[in-house]
């Protein structure tokens, strides 16, 4: 719904100074991109599965994110089961100039965590998929700070 989209977009901008990091789980699909919901982000992680339609969708999202001038745009290769899966994602992304920030393997522990209604990191903190996300978090922390809009150590931006 339109009002809701607008609200999400506005909120992300308004809350940008809150805390050190904001992590926004966007809705599926491209609508939010067309409406500009994603404009106020520093890092966009495009989660792609190793099949063609998913990669194609990732590519469209990537192009839109570029148009919105989002500073850091990465693909996360998710649910990778085989070397062939990895190769398919690698080749597709290389062909379209899309950087991959990390590969998260298919992991039955995630299915089990979901069944038990637990966070993956609480259910199995050392499982292969969580470890892969740890590596992604490390890379994100190492990115150059985005223009000082959020600074480490600041709990919240004072209201003006």
């Amino acid at each position: 719904m339109c009002a809701s989209h607008r609200a999400v977009r506005g909120l992300i901008a308004e809350l940008s100074g809150y805390g050190e990091h904001t992590v926004t789980d966007m809705e599926a699909g491209l609508e939010h991109m067309k409406r500009g919901t994603a404009r106020n982000v520093d890092v966009m992680l495009i989660v792609a599965e190793p099949y063609y339609r998913s990669l194609e969708a990732a590519e469209r999202t990537y192009s839109l994110a570029r148009e919105l001038a989002i500073p850091h745009i990465f693909v996360v290769a998710n649910k990778i089961k085989t070397n062939a899966d990895q190769k398919a994602v690698d080749e597709f992304c290389a062909r379209h100039g899309m950087p991959i920030i990390g590969t998260v393997p298919h992991d039955d522990e995630l299915v089990e965590a979901d069944r038990r209604a637990l966070a993956p990191i609480d259910h199995a903190p050392d499982c292969t998929s969580v470890r892969a996300i740890v590596a992604i978090a490390d890379k994100l922390r190492a990115l150059p700070s985005p223009g000082g809009r959020q600074q480490a150590g600041l709990a919240a931006r004072p209201q003006t």
Binding site: T22, L45, P120
Partner: protein, 113 residues
């Protein structure tokens, strides 16, 4: 840093968003997680219980208002302060993470969006 996860439904983006939030919050770093998905389940991947997740107050879209910014441009402004919003609507997830949820429950019939 403002991070967004996007992807097709079922791609696993919510699992990645939730786990990343928990990781970035380690060492007492302040993280705000925003669930912008119409089918909200970020709460569970952050480690909240189903009961706690069910008790989250959804943010009404009336929290943002479209105002005239001059020159025919419109801009969105919050109708409440940031502090009020966090105090009123944020749920506390493990790791000290504040979570706000923009979606609406599927069964919800609470007025117009």
């Amino acid at each position: 840093m403002k991070i967004a996860t996007v992807g097709k439904g079922g791609s696993g983006k919510t699992t990645i968003a939730g786990t990343l939030s928990r990781l970035l919050a380690q060492g007492e770093h302040k993280v705000l997680a925003i669930d912008g998905d119409p089918n909200p389940n970020l709460a569970l991947t952050l480690g909240m219980t189903r009961d706690a997740a069910d008790a989250i107050r959804y943010i009404p879209s009336s929290i943002m208002s479209l105002v005239d910014a001059g020159g025919g441009e419109k801009k969105l402004v919050m109708t409440v302060t940031q502090d009020h919003l966090i105090k009123t609507y944020a749920a506390r997830a493990p790791g000290g993470i504040d979570l706000i949820v923009m979606g609406r429950p599927q069964h919800g019939s609470a007025g117009s969006g």
